[in-house]
Symmetry: C2
Subunit: 136 residues, 2 copies
């Protein structure tokens, strides 16, 4: 029998396609971008469904999400490698960097305050070399 991944509803073509696309990379991508990519491959799917699917996947803990300074929400399959982000304040270019072990501290701190279902984010904002250059 074929097992269905738990916590993300029924098995539909669209949902499978979104999952498959997310599996192809561990980069953060926006809903709009994912939708465009699917459509460009002739996968029939509406933007609404992409949003609803991503939301379901986030709630099911299958994927992570974060936001750029400009407000765009990004999604990626859960990555077990602990990397954080270096984000350019001006052009929003992001660089993934591996960081120190903040996790242990984060978990303890959260627990101490009665918080559960923890998930943390460490972002470093700055101005990238390109933007700094074109500015002077």
């Amino acid at each position: 029998m074929t097992e269905m991944p738990p916590g993300a509803g029924r098995n539909t073509r669209q949902r499978a396609e979104v999952r498959a696309l997310l599996e192809e990379s561990d980069e953060f991508r926006s809903a709009q971008r994912l939708h465009a990519d699917l459509r460009s491959r002739s996968v029939p799917i509406g933007l609404t469904t992409v949003y609803r699917t991503l939301q379901a996947l986030v709630e099911a803990g299958e994927i992570d999400s974060m936001r750029l300074p400009n407000g765009e929400q990004l999604f990626r399959r859960c990555s077990r490698t602990r990397h954080h982000h270096l984000i350019c304040r001006l052009c929003a270019r992001t660089v993934e960097v591996t960081g120190p072990t903040v996790e242990v501290w984060a978990d303890r701190t959260a627990a101490r305050h009665g918080f559960t279902d923890i998930n943390h984010t460490l972002e470093i904002f700055g101005i990238c070399a390109v933007c700094a250059g074109s500015n002077r």
Copy 2:
């Protein structure tokens, strides 16, 4: 002579009021919230101006900004005390916590990638005790 804070344009009543309000607390607040607070004190200012002022202050490096998981953009005066946030995913309640020294690592990492004018944010998202309780 009265010195004007640098990098944030001309000295207007509105800009001064926004700055003053930000100085009153180091909590993260939304543009809408700041606007409402100013209006409730009979400060004449439009929402547009609040947005434009906050944007200018962020660019001038006078204030920090971040986003909640729901997409709301929040602002606070730059705090030199290294505290981070524990934020409830459901009710958005935030608890300030003092953390480990991530700063050194953050600065080095950024520099290594050519990023300048660094500023970092460490947020822990989770579900607070209250929300966890009302959920069961």
